[in-house]
């Protein structure tokens, strides 16, 4: 057994000198075996030193050419497989974070330092809370896996720029503590932590959570741009109509405004929503949560995740397609009131939701058909809230509601296993 390779320990281990004779069986094992207990560095030192080897060789009366077997004191015994693929939880989490960075960067560019403060606060406090709760639970602190960082970043990206620091911290506390730690940490949480945090804040601090700023770039170009959601292109198009409508608006320092979706509550053509161009939505030149404003940045990040295989197409496609279909039908019925599909998909949090939050592994279904079902459910609930609900936006609620049925969906959508297709009998088939 392993004892055959157990050799004279050189360090603090209790001496089992009797075993050194066994070293004679395998020349060279004497020094190397003991070295292994001191780790790799020690092992390489042991290899360089010829002392032990000579001793062992002389014991075994073998020639100097005898091949060396550098065996550890005890060979590792484990179940197969003995190799592992390139992915780890940390790698996945940090990749998702990297894919969110462009959208976060656009948010900071659009809303300035206030946005950066929100993101830094939520991310930092999420990490601190995670470490704290893990310590309290007597678990190993695993903040380096990026899970808490991702939760904090996503929470921040779902808040308006300028959210008070206190509120940001409370959001992180709810996200990491209430939504994740109390259930047992990563892997056990039934609801998306970042969204739980956000919805908590939305209910607890409704005013702060719906005070949207105009993007800086719009603000900088003169008084006319202070009107809600007014970009250059938009202004040119909207022209006089807006001028007349908001004639009495005075120049102020900080301008808050309705998001495209809250503007939509007035109706599509009747209100100001229709004046927002697709370019504005793609580039993030509009009021909204820090991370949701730039559709291009979000699509880019989502695409990378798709290509890397970290998410599958099922949830985002089902989610967005369902929204598109519902929007197309309602817009077709009443184009005056309901916005067209592309507007719904690009405005609000649909993209960040579909690519980065509905796809959260822990809280979404695992199997292909389940994912599609989940995406469709998210899309439907989002649209119902947007079109007829009390809130302008429904992505967070939709995902959280669908989170609650995830276990049920999983149970009924398990893949069909191999071996159920029966052979029909001998025949001259292909190949």
């Amino acid at each position: 057994m392993a004892e055959a390779h157990k050799d004279k320990p050189t360090d603090n281990t209790a001496g089992e000198t009797g075993a050194s004779a066994a070293g004679a069986v395998r020349p060279g094992a004497a020094d190397e075996g003991a070295a292994s207990s001191q780790g790799r560095t020690a092992a390489s030192q042991g290899r360089k030193s010829d002392q032990g080897r000579t001793a062992a060789s002389s014991l075994s009366n073998s020639s100097a050419k005898e091949p060396t077997l550098l065996m550890p004191e005890k060979l590792a015994i484990s179940s197969s497989p003995h190799v592992h693929g390139p992915d780890s939880i940390a790698k996945i989490m940090w990749t998702v974070i990297a894919c969110l960075v462009p959208a976060a960067a656009v948010g900071i560019y659009r809303f300035g330092l206030d946005a950066a403060v929100v993101l830094a606060t939520t991310t930092g406090s999420a990490i601190v809370f995670e470490a704290l709760f893990q310590k309290m639970a007597g678990k190993e602190v695993s903040v380096s896996d990026g899970s808490a960082t991702l939760t904090g970043l996503l929470l921040g990206m779902n808040l308006p720029a300028g959210t008070p620091i206190f509120i940001c911290v409370v959001g992180s506390l709810v996200a990491v503590g209430l939504a994740k730690a109390v259930f047992g940490g990563l892997g056990y949480n039934p609801f998306n932590p970042a969204l739980t945090g956000r919805v908590f804040l939305l209910i607890a601090f409704p005013v702060a959570m719906t005070t949207w700023r105009l993007p800086q770039q719009m603000n900088a170009h003169g008084p006319k741009k202070q009107y809600y959601g007014m970009s250059t292109t938009w202004r040119d198009q909207a022209g006089k109509r807006l001028e007349q409508k908001h004639r009495n608006v005075k120049k102020v320092d900080v301008v808050t405004a309705a998001t495209p979706l809250s503007a939509l509550k007035e109706g599509w053509k009747k209100g100001t929503a229709a004046l927002i161009t697709h370019t504005d939505l793609l580039q993030g030149d509009r009021p909204g949560s820090i991370g949701e404003v730039s559709a291009i940045a979000l699509l880019l990040g989502g695409l990378v995740l798709l290509l890397m295989g970290y998410i599958t197409w099922h949830i985002p496609v089902a989610f967005l397609a369902t929204m598109g279909v519902v929007a197309a039908i309602t817009h077709g019925i009443n184009p005056q009131r309901y916005a067209p599909p592309l507007f719904h998909v690009l405005a609000g949090g649909a993209l960040i939701g579909a690519f980065f939050m509905a796809t959260d592994y822990v809280t979404s279904p695992t199997y292909p058909w389940g994912k599609i079902l989940f995406g469709v459910g998210c899309g439907l609930i989002t649209m119902i809230i947007r079109l007829w609900g009390g809130y302008p936006e429904g992505v967070s609620f939709a995902i959280l509601l669908m989170n609650s049925v995830t276990p049920l969906i999983d149970r009924f959508t398990r893949p069909r296993k191999y071996g159920l297709k029966l052979w029909s009998g001998p025949q001259e088939d292909a190949s």
Binding site: A4, T68, M71, S79, P81, H82, V83, R414, Y418, L420
Partner: protein
């Protein structure tokens, strides 16, 4: 050429180039061999020699323990030192015949079969059994059992499994490149015994030389064709191979013969060739000795019973501190506790992992990413199965079809939480077997009570 494959699977680092250019060499005759009585699936063989007996190479030292069993032959000439418990590669002490070699390598009289392609299939089959041939791919299922399908199970295809999808291993590759005639002849014997006219030589497309050699060897033989397989693990799994090549599925809980197919490994066909054409029983096999820690990765023809340590020494020893010694490949191989364990019929390779290659990541809770589900070649749900096994919910584990798991390790390979899924399932299968047995007994009890 069309490339076929199955759904699921992974692409581990193959590292075949370590040993793929090393031609097969004959390993030195060992001084002593340890021949465990259990080198195959099924009943262990019964020793028929005693301490002090003189034996020749090829002499039966242990007779079949039943129908699903094969005899074991002496692999060196010499004297039986002991018939006693010895460390088996599986890590447990098992009965074994220990022979001290006399160095003369004297063989028993060999009895080749004339014109085997015209011979009576039953004679051929008996010869395969008597030669102790088992599946040399690693499963070690006695070959004559596969060659004896019941009458109600018609067989219309024979597949040669030349996928060798396990990373690092190159024994089958070298055998096909160097001795394709032997393999093809053995394969034709299989077709002859089963009375099948259609055979496919299935080779992964990362072995172009093997494919070319086999194509040449099979040229002009009616009904035998080479099929290229996409390089993907576990392409060489019997069920995956059948799915890829024939589009058929082995029924859950069934055998390939349930869908009209019998699959034989490259080494097995070579052994069948030897048994029939040369009358030579299975006393050696080709074994890949490889790994980053091995000085000269090589392919050796090794007498069964040779200690692993001897192979490593013949491969030049190790250049790095070793961490794990694995019999077989890195995906399904077995770690051994000692270098004293012998090479047995199922030992396709000896892989030495350097200490710094050993995966030692602590595992975490499942994050439900579903990667395991995507790669499972059987379409199971390793995510849920793993959680059930971890909690000891064996009944539910049974309901998730853990018994269909082929333990290929694809799920554990991709798992970002490093969950030891295969270990869970091996444990789970054992527990489910116990559970089923208990249930059966309880049912019988109820029936007895009802009758009384």
């Amino acid at each position: 050429m069309r490339r076929v494959t199955f759904s699921g699977g992974v692409h581990p680092e193959y590292n075949k180039n370590l040993a793929s250019q090393a031609a097969i060499t004959d390993a030195a005759l060992p001084d002593q061999v340890v021949l465990p009585c259990s080198q195959h699936l099924g009943a262990p063989a019964r020793p028929v020699v005693a301490k002090g007996d003189l034996v020749k190479v090829g002499q039966v030292v242990a007779e079949s323990g039943g129908f699903v069993s094969v005899p074991i032959h002496a692999t060196v000439s010499g004297k039986v030192v002991e018939v006693a418990g010895r460390l088996h590669p599986t890590g447990v002490i098992q009965p074994a015949v220990v022979i001290a070699a006399d160095g003369k390598d004297e063989w028993v009289e060999l009895d080749p079969i004339d014109q085997p392609l015209e011979a009576d299939p039953d004679v051929l089959k008996e010869r395969v059994r008597a030669a102790g041939v088992v599946g040399l791919g690693g499963a070690t299922f006695p070959s004559h059992v596969k060659l004896s399908p019941p009458k109600n199970k018609p067989i219309d295809r024979v597949l040669l499994n030349g996928a060798e999808c396990e990373p690092y291993l190159t024994a089958d590759d070298r055998l096909m490149r160097e001795e394709p005639e032997r393999v093809v002849k053995g394969f034709r014997i299989v077709m002859r015994i089963l009375g099948v006219s259609q055979g496919r030589l299935c080779i992964e497309d990362n072995k172009p030389e093997a494919m070319a050699a086999m194509q040449k060897a099979a040229a002009g033989i009616d009904g035998v064709e080479v099929v290229a397989l996409a390089t993907k693990y576990p392409q060489g799994g019997e069920k995956q191979l059948i799915q890829a090549v024939l589009g058929r599925q082995v029924p859950s809980g069934g055998l390939p013969m349930d869908c009209g197919v019998v699959v034989f490994n490259v080494g097995t066909c070579a052994a069948i060739h030897d048994a029939v054409y040369l009358g030579r029983p299975l006393v050696d096999r080709v074994c890949t000795v490889t790994g980053r820690a091995v000085a000269q990765p090589s392919n050796m023809r090794v007498r069964l019973g040779t200690p692993v340590a001897s192979l490593l020494e013949q491969a030049g020893g190790t250049t790095k501190q070793a961490g794990k010694v694995i019999l077989g490949g890195p995906m399904m191989g077995l770690t051994v506790p000692s270098l004293d364990v012998p090479v047995i019929k199922g030992t396709s390779g000896v892989l030495v992992q350097a200490a710094d290659e050993v995966v030692e990541e602590p595992y975490r809770a499942c994050i439900r990413c579903g990667m395991c589900v995507r790669v499972c070649p059987i379409g199971l749900t390793p995510n849920e199965m793993g959680s059930r096994a971890e909690m000891g919910h064996w009944e539910e584990l049974d309901g998730l079809d853990v018994m269909d798991c082929i333990e290929c390790g694809s799920c554990a390979y991709v798992c970002p939480a490093y969950r030891p899924l295969v270990q869970f399932f091996k444990l789970g299968k054992a527990q489910v077997r116990v559970l089923r047995q208990k249930r059966k007994e309880a049912e019988a009890e109820v029936l007895r009570a009802a009758k009384a």
